[in-house]
Symmetry: C2
Subunit: 151 residues, 2 copies
DNA sequence: GTCAAATAGTTTGATAATCAAACGATATCG
DNA sequence: CGATATCGTTTGATTATCAAACTATTTGAC
């Protein structure tokens, strides 16, 4: 059993590092050189489809609201994000992507989808099911672990 | 096909974020509060078993040698890493873990192994095989992508 | 209705992570 | 020997991050 654990663990670590590195390089050699990988993930968390408040996005990213405010300042300056004060509650700020932000969002999303699509080539339906089940297991374990975490 | 792609993609993103967050929190509530997650990965890249040069470790981590030098300065100060000038070639620096560094390495390794072990519970041998194959596919795709990357 | 407390977000000061480029020390090769 | 290459360090600038102080607004208790 142990060799299998090591092998899977090795793949996960390697996949993790590769994805980050490829995303970073892809960005730096695209028309979006002025966006870091962290900023890319912020854009991803803001999302295309609904407006999200600063607090919601910060929680999703697992960073403090202060950190997000600073990052959003830069993304607004660079033209990727719009800030809109809520009319209902003037304390609340809603974040939304600009046209340029949405273009970048789709590009990044495509990278992810291509990555997965490529992985599934040469796998049968059933094998894909099992892969999904494995990932689901891992995901459940991590969610449980997160809950048990101190504070 | 597309819903499956979205689902798998979602799991992967979520898994990556969770692993990082859990590692970070686990460190901060352990006896190793003075080590950041980035430093943890540097310790991991230095490894237990052989001596590695600064250039080798930087390449493995995908960061510049300058960045690693700064990080190693801190890890030496905190007592996790030793720097040894090579006798053969006085330009070369070999990095190695101290006793405290090796203890932390094993703790981190255990977290990863437990994570994978937990994922494999309730999976049959064959299912584990298929999961591994899926991860191997993904890994191969990423390695190929990395090679095709500009510069 | 007013005022205290809670909430949402911003600002600030400090520290870590990062890169590119300049630099210093050493090795190699013609 | 001397030019060039290599290895690592240092430096200056930028980004990422947090905690804590702060501002503006809402809510809730009386």
């Amino acid at each position: 059993m142990d060799p299998k654990i090591n092998e899977i663990n090795g793949y996960l670590v390697s996949i993790f590092n590769d994805v980050l590195m490829i995303e970073e390089r892809t960005l730096q050699t695209s028309q979006f050189k002025d966006v870091s990988i962290k900023e890319m993930h912020t854009i991803d968390a803001i999302g295309m489809y609904q407006e999200h408040t600063t607090s919601e996005v910060a929680k999703k990213l697992g960073i403090t609201v202060g950190t997000l405010t600073v990052s959003v300042n830069n993304l607004v300056r660079k033209g990727y994000v719009n800030r809109v004060r809520s009319e209902k509650d003037r304390r609340v700020v809603k974040l939304a992507l600009t046209k340029k932000g949405r273009l970048l969002y789709r590009l990044h999303d495509k990278f992810h989808r291509d990555m997965v699509r490529e992985t599934l080539t040469e796998m049968s339906e059933e094998e894909a099911e099992v892969l999904m089940k494995g990932l689901l297991n891992l995901h459940s374990f991590l969610e449980r672990t997160k809950e048990q975490l101190p504070e």
